[in-house]
Amino acid sequence: MSEAVFMMVLLIAACGAGTLGALTGLGGGVVIVPLLVLAFGVDLRYAVGASLVAVIATSCGSAPSFLRSGAANLRMGMLLESTTVIGAVLGAIIAAWISTTAITYIFVAALMYSAIATLQTPRPNPLDVPPDPMATRLQLDSIMPGSAGAAPLPYATRRVSAAMLVMALAGVLSALVGIGGGILKVLAMDRLMRMPFKASTATSNFMLMVTAGASAGIYLHRGQIDPRLAGPVALGAAGGSILGAMLVARFSVRPLRIIFAIVVVASGLEMLRRTIWGGA
């Protein structure tokens, strides 16, 4: 395969991953790393570097619509970023000291958890949650804008400290395996803080670029971000995320989530097989 064809195929594949990630609301990171490793034979360290750049691109591509719609909670994002960046830097430092085999095992575990979380149906959170004094003091409570004739939805948040700890863990995971850690972020905001699901996904998306950006700089200095790989992947993922955001209203998300979960589990098992038994 020539360099031109390789870059074109990479661009199209990353565009597909970005579209699927945006349609399912889970970002493209969990697809891009297995895609690069399994389909293109790329070393995991290069794949993680390219994936982090793609996560920044997809987050920057889809965050503007969440910001304009008012779904993203700006203050929540700023606050939770304070622990997630520390986690991301720690993760990038840890990644230099552990083997690629260990990183693969952690990645496969993250893939399996992502697949399970993808298939769970979000439950509506109760609206009469008593306000958390810390959340009130920090003005974290907000209003979800109304859509399709529905009235705006004021919501309170709680368990801020616990969510900040989960965010630190999301940062470590993101830096270790090159995904955005969006699954853990949504878990913290939706399940722990009891934010509306749409506000959780929008705020998580807004934060992903900062989580990935914190470790991407470190990977750049280590030589793990090569433009011939990261360039087409980032460009394709950015285009895919914008396309996915445009298509999301026209598709039924449930079947896509099932396909996404199957792809993610199959990729994880194949990565595990190659790590344990070797071979292509």
Binding site: S2, E3, A4, V5, F6, M7, L11, L36, G41, V42, D43, V53, I56, A57, C60, A63, P64, S65, L67, R68, G70, L74, R75, M78, L79, E81, S82, V85, V89, A92, P131, L138, Q139, S142, I143, P154, M209, V210, A212, G213, A214, S215, A216, G217, L220, H221, R222, G223, Q224, I225, D226, P227, R228, L229, A230, G231, A234, L235, A238, G239
Partner: protein, 143 residues
């Protein structure tokens, strides 16, 4: 409703309004931030796109694909902005692609810096301090 009941109802409404008083201001900041992110992403993608086309034209359609099968810790040409600019001065197409990639990596840092200024100008000391702390970590990672 008695006078006391009416007063309590007014207090409750006022407290609820105070709880969400920050929302309109935050929405205005978010809208401006959205435009900034679109421009930043557009610029980075343009640099990457031009770099990739230049690479293809310069290398020819039959140039062999680079192998990324083994991580090479010894390559130094793309590890910093300075090395990338040196590569660009030497007219290396992949350095333009890397410049776009670096612009993309720097975009979250620019976003946090912008929010720091926005929060400081609204005298939101706590959030300005949070943004400053995040900015320090991001700049440390980039430096």
């Amino acid at each position: 409703m008695s006078e006391v009941g009416e007063a309590n109802a007014v207090t409750a409404v006022t407290a609820a309004e105070a709880r969400f008083a920050h929302v309109p201001g935050d929405r205005a900041i978010a809208a401006r931030l959205a435009s900034g992110l679109r421009w930043g992403l557009g610029t980075a993608c343009l640099l990457i796109g031009i770099g990739l086309v230049w690479q293809t034209v310069a290398g020819g359609l039959a140039a062999p694909r680079p192998t990324f099968e083994k991580f090479d810790a010894t390559t130094t040409e793309y590890r910093s902005l300075m090395q990338t600019l040196r590569g660009l001065a030497a007219w290396r197409p992949s350095s333009l692609t890397q410049l776009g990639v670096i612009a993309l990596i720097a975009l979250p840092t620019a976003r946090v810096a912008w929010l720091l200024v926005a929060m400081a100008s609204r005298r939101e000391r706590f959030y300005a301090a949070v943004c400053a702390a995040v900015l320090v970590v991001l700049v440390w990672g980039l430096a």
